[in-house]
Amino acid sequence: MSGEAMNLTLRVWRQDDAEDAGRFETYNAPDISPDMSFLEMLDVVNEGIIADGGEPIAFDSDCREGICGTCSMVINGVAHGGQQGTTACQLHMRHFRDGDTITIEPWRATAFPVHRDLIVDRTSFERIQQAGGFISVRTGSVPDANATPVPKEDSDLAMDAAQCIGCGACVAACKNASAMLFVAAKVSHLSLMPQGQPERERRALAMVQQMDEEGFGNCTVTGSCEAVCPKEISLDFIARMNREYGRAILKSGCN
């Protein structure tokens, strides 16, 4: 498993807070084991920065196993670092070579202002979901789970969409900073389930409107979102959501 330790150079985006202009700073990352995860490499570099009297690089992470969607950084120009279906926290150093220079930046999008260094504010995603990303059921007032059969194909497809971890890589990768893949995943998941039918139109309209209000860009279907999505959410869901939205507009009789 183990290989030779590597010496790397990091160019890291440092920014004190949302108002600060920000700048790149360069750090040495000596003696990096290929078995480390990318974030563990940053931990090690941070311990060194603290020892030298500096302030560590702030970056977000929690589960470190690719499911919570907290970690968020652009590595060498690619959101999450370019290994297919892999979050930054699952990326391992064996994919780098001794002597490499690695550039690390935050998600960049108007709707994701920087809090500090690599940490951004993604509460715009929250507001989109608060606008309609739910099925209105009250606790306890529901039918038996097996009273509503769901065709396996529908449920599986809904699950493909529901796997989205809400990390925001799709926005970071898009030249328009569009949130379409994220919103499409959410809208598709619920509209594929029979339980989601009654609010189907309302949901699509409300979530899309909120997405627009948050300042995300338009979707021009370049597919860069799908390429970086750590859960490999398919672009097909965007097409599905466009149909959902069109249908909702027709039904509500206005635009």
Binding site: S33, C63, R64, A131, R202, D212
Partner: protein, 682 residues
């Protein structure tokens, strides 16, 4: 795609603006020293086991629906327990404030649960029932949980699945459209519901969607990236919390009629665990220091199938699903010289002939083999590694080998069953498990101990409730697979929203102190002083270095197996480490900004005290039960030996003051329904 029509979102926003949160403030008082005397009363209702909960619900006081909006409830935590509770309380009409340290409630650690959730639906018609789930849970917990709580858990389990399905959770289905099940963790019935390997994620997204609906309606105010640092008591009742805004550093307080802690488990006291990086004991421990009893802190669960540590840099451990043991065979070389050659790379596992391999679980437990319970599998792996037969460079790892499974059913079938796990394994280790055996080692996974609560899930401090992994109530000394998700959602959707009404109806609408109450400023000041202290030590060691050292002490002395000598030593060393922490800690930066070192330092400070409490609890419990294995108490075959005559109790600790030995209280456990037997897996 801008729709011009006024949508639900816009309406909800408008509604939010007009929602007022006024509650008659109580006249400011002096900081009251009055304490509610320490008392543990489980409050288990009388009557037959299967009628207790129904009768109790009927007897609980109700809050008048028109008055509910005049009550304010604080929920700390947005995992399965917190999100489900906050959403349900808001649906009932209460005003809720919900806090979490992540940037979104959806990222709470519950998101990481893989395997599934149990419920006594008996959809498979295989003989499951509420009674059987109850029985299995009490037995699995090695007879150290409360029967009445567990029975209620089994009862409401069926409602959970209905609730989640109605929220649109895409559970696994059969071709006929009905829900699929699998058997899990050695249960003899198929009662586990799942959504691929991401059950926790999907259940949490369901609870989160209900929470979002209430946030949109203005009934829940959500505070992400906000860390609770203390509880505020007024006349002995929990009436609020002090928090730090993790972006600006601002310290503030919030008052309420009641406080609910849904802050998860404390596995990170070990430094390395399968928990998320931010999981901590701070909220529960601060409550303990204010007088809440901490129950069974030494009951922790070690999961046998995790990816071994790869080096000093390791920041957390990754769980590989338990299902792998269905087809993988666990082994190490018989001879430790061979093991040494494997470790140094001179030998390859495939070079080892069958006769030189020790399939130690199959050898020792012929009837259960590789499927023995978590604690047994873990302990045996440790034992062979301690003998020098480990197979990874650190010496701490055993093989989980699929070569025979591939021979028997073909690589494709293995891929169908475990493909995603094999992929994950390769991502982390760089090794292909179809070609080489996996290596695994046990890791800390779950904590059964937690804040002591009564049948209403209220701690001994009136007004302070604890739900989910943060309480101690349902799993005894060992939790069964797929039962934590069930308990978190049972507490949050179906138990707390009823039982909290009893407390609220009793105290009345006016019993919410004004934020000017001196009790709040006093606690806030303590919190600020503590933060300033952390920042002004200016020593040489980072919070991580202290955390790692503490973790090693706890793992070595209060981990998979424990003994008197080790525990006594740990109780000696930990205070020394704590002392060094407060003299030699280095936290760069300031409070008034996003400062991750400061966040970590605060959590480590609490772990440094809590770790000692854990060791004390393990020391007093002179028996082996569930996840707690005391080397002095084992059968001649090396199995855990309970001492029911002396230790059939919940150990609840009361804080006595800085550097003073805490006081142990005992809640005796009585078993009316389930007959106590010694577990055997031979």
């Amino acid at each position: 795609m801008a729709a011009k029509k006024k949508t639900t979102a816009a309406k909800a926003k408008a509604a939010k603006k007009t929602t007022t949160r006024k509650t008659a403030p109580r006249a400011a008082k002096k900081v009251s020293q009055k304490k509610v005397p320490f008392k543990l009363d489980s409050g288990i209702p009388a009557g037959a086991m299967d009628e207790k909960w129904d009768k109790h619900r009927f007897n609980l006081k109700l809050v008048n629906p028109a008055n509910k909006r005049k009550y304010e409830v604080i929920v700390v935590g947005s995992g399965l327990a917190g999100a489900s509770a906050a959403a349900t309380l808001a649906e009932l009409g209460y005003n809720v404030k919900c806090f979490c340290y992540q940037d979104s409630p959806r990222r709470a650690h519950s998101i990481a649960a893989q395997g599934g959730i149990n419920a006594a639906k008996n959809y498979q018609n295989d003989g499951d029932s509420v009674y059987r789930l109850f029985y299995d849970t009490v037995k699995g917990g090695d007879y150290r949980s409360r029967e009445a709580n567990v029975y209620r858990l089994a009862q409401v389990s069926v409602d959970i699945i209905d609730q989640c399905a109605a929220q649109g959770v895409p559970f696994a289905r059969e071709y006929g459209g009905l829900l699929a099940n699998r058997s899990f963790g050695g249960a003899q019935v198929s009662r586990t519901f799942y959504a691929r390997g991401q059950t926790g994620q999907q259940l949490l997204l369901g609870a989160y969607s209900s929470l979002n609906r209430q946030i949109g309606l203005g009934k829940v105010k959500m505070y992400p990236r906000t860390e609770m640092l203390d509880v505020v008591l007024v006349e002995g009742h929990a009436k609020g919390i002090v928090v730090r805004d993790m972006v600006t550093g601002k310290i503030s307080n919030h008052s309420a009629h009641a406080v609910v802690l849904a802050t998860g488990g404390y596995g990170n006291v070990f430094f390395l665990s399968t928990n998320a990086m931010g999981c901590n004991v701070t909220a529960a421990y601060r409550a303990y220091k204010r007088g809440a009893a901490f129950a069974n802190p030494c009951f922790t669960q070690i999961h046998p199938t995790c990816i071994p540590v790869s080096g000093e840099h390791q920041s957390k451990l990754t769980l590989m699903s338990e299902s792998l043991r269905n087809d993988g065979r666990v082994w190490v070389p018989k001879d430790k010289k061979i093991a040494a050659k494997i470790r140094s790379g001179e030998l390859n596992p495939k070079d080892i002939a069958d006769k030189d391999r020790d399939y130690f679980l199959e050898r020792k437990y012929p009837s259960f083999g590789n499927l023995v319970p978590r604690d047994v599998a873990s302990r045996n792996a440790k034992e062979v590694c301690d003998e020098g037969r480990g197979v990874v460079p650190s010496g701490l790892g055993v093989y989980l080998d699929f070569a025979d499974a591939i021979k028997r059913m073909g690589e494709n079938t293995v891929r169908e069953r475990y493909g995603n796990l094999f992929d994950m394994y390769e991502k982390i280790t760089g090794s292909n498990a179809y070609k080489n055996p996996m290596t695994i080692y046990p890791a800390v996974h779950y904590t059964m101990g937690g804040l002591w609560v009564d049948y209403n899930l209220m701690s001994n401090l009136p007004g302070l409730f604890a739900i989910g992994e943060a309480n101690f109530s349902d799993h005894g000394a060992n939790r069964l697979g797929a039962s934590a998700l069930m308990q978190g959602l049972a507490d949050g959707y179906f138990v707390l929203p009823y039982t909290i009404g009893q407390y609220l109806a009793n105290v009345g609408i006016d019993d919410r102190p004004n934020q000017d109450d001196p009790a709040f400023s006093a606690v806030q000041q303590e919190v600020e002083t503590r933060i300033n202290n952390l920042l002004s030590i200016n020593g040489d060691r980072t919070p991580t270095s202290f955390h790692r050292e503490l973790g090693k002490i706890i793992w070595d002395n209060c981990g998979m197996s424990r003994n008197k000598k080790g525990l006594e030593e740990a109780i000696q060393i930990i205070p020394k480490l704590r002392k060094e922490f407060w003299q030699n800690l280095s936290v760069p930066g300031e409070n008034a900004s996003l400062n991750q070192s400061l966040e970590h330092a605060g959590r480590v400070a609490d772990f440094l005290e809590f770790g000692e409490l854990m060791c004390r609890d393990a020391l007093q419990r002179e028996e082996s039960c569930g996840g707690h294995f005391r080397e002095e108490h084992q059968t001649p075959e090396g199995e855990a030996k309970r001492n029911d005559a002396k230790f059939s109790f919940v150990g609840a600790w009361e804080y006595q003051g800085e550097n003073k030995t805490p006081k142990l209280h005992k809640e005796t456990l009585a078993y009316e329904e389930v007959k106590m037997t010694q577990r055997s897996y031979k």
